[in-house]
Symmetry: C2
Subunit: 245 residues, 2 copies
């Protein structure tokens, strides 16, 4: 019997949305990563029973889609709820007692932009990930045998550390399943391995921590780097993220 | 006497040329970094007495400028000298006995592109850096009291590790002189500090090592990560890099 050794699918890490066009997105699984706080909040709302989450890229669209879907509208700028919307971007605002069976329409800048770019470029599947649903993301990637793009949302197209740390955590769990020839992935994995045992101290040194801490959001951020506290798998289908169970 | 505490200038690291437009380049010092091998070779040629180095972005322009300046033309693609040019991109090709008092016209892709972008965006000074001239770069940055952009050339607009390691090495030496609020810089510095004691082992894991090792260029690359073996300060003036002494 001649067993043919099957080649492993590729895995790449995209450090900011501005670099997405350098990668082969078509037919890949794209993981949208926006640790502070969009993809942490999305994982949480779906874990707590939201029927779906619709990410939109402007407050105006959020209001409009909110009306169409009778959904909960959410969005913040500079730590405050955007006028015209009802809730903020904090995962703590979406316990089961509030969000179960509801539609959440959320406006975010960095993550939503990246999601729409990946959609336009023909991604096979789009899921969202953050530490609260790390194991669910890992399980899914290991089960699919498809090329993977770990897409960091960054901050206004710039690189940020918290998203890359999550990419590095995913890589640590899936790396034997993929053929990785990508310096961004090597770096992400090395940075995560260097810092994983002091993540709650280390995270306080990154630029985004300082920006959000000024709005009193320290507890939110510590939640956003907590592993598997909201084990859902948000997958994008027909315009919305639903929990694939 | 009321001493006014002077604020420190900023320092940012740009991970690939595709991200340069996100940063304030005007009036900054931009350090062009292309460790494998353009900026290592440039440092070496100038250290060995080349009168100037003219970086150009195509073989055609290299031939033309070579004729105009009676210069030595250099450029490689896939490890071979480009037809029509006379020499390659290896620092070992430019000892003092050959290059002293000559003009070197060199075609490179990633580094030259970044240099021209920085020029167009109004950089105050453009210098080039790599491990062979690390201390000269550090000295210059510390002496200038200007904002600094560490510009990594990457590979076809993608992130690469060797350029970021050099940025991290510079940051380690200058960080008390600058106000650094930049996750790319934090990451670069952390990666360098994590790997600096095993740099010759670590460098063999990065993607560019594998690409160039396939052309037998291992010795070149080990030279390119050697500190201060060609202590020159290439600074861009009137269309060419000259050694500022």
């Amino acid at each position: 019997m001649n067993a043919v050794k099957k080649s492993k699918p590729s895995l790449h890490t995209v450090l900011t949305p501005q670099l997405l066009d350098l990668y082969e997105i078509k037919d890949s699984i794209v993981v949208i990563i926006d640790v502070f706080r969009a993809t942490s909040t999305i994982a949480t709302a779906l874990y707590n029973g939201a029927s779906k989450v619709i990410p939109v890229d402007s407050p105006e669209l959020c209001i409009e889609v909110g009306k169409q879907t009778s959904g909960v509208t959410a969005g913040e700028r500079d730590g405050k709820i955007i006028p015209g919307l009802s809730y903020g971007n904090s995962p703590s605002e979406y316990p089961r007692s509030f969000i179960e069976n509801k539609t959440l329409v959320i406006t975010t800048t960095n993550g939503t932009k990246l999601l729409h770019m990946a959609l336009k470029q023909g991604a096979k599947n789009i899921i969202t990930g953050s530490f609260p649903n790390l194991s669910k993301v890992v399980e899914f990637l290991k089960s699919q045998d498809s090329p993977v793009i770990l897409g960091c949302s960054g901050w206004k197209n710039k690189f940020n550390i918290e998203d890359v740390l999550f990419a590095g955590a995913v890589i640590e769990e899936v790396k034997t399943h993929f053929d990785i020839q990508c310096d961004s992935s090597f770096m992400a994995n090395q940075l995560y391995m260097q810092q994983k045992d002091q993540l709650t101290t280390y995270i306080k040194t990154v630029t985004h921590w300082h920006r959000l801490a000024a709005f009193g959001l320290e507890e939110d951020m510590l939640y956003c780097i907590s592993r598997d506290v909201a084990p859902s798998l948000p997958i994008f289908k027909e315009g919305a993220l639903i929990n694939q169970v």
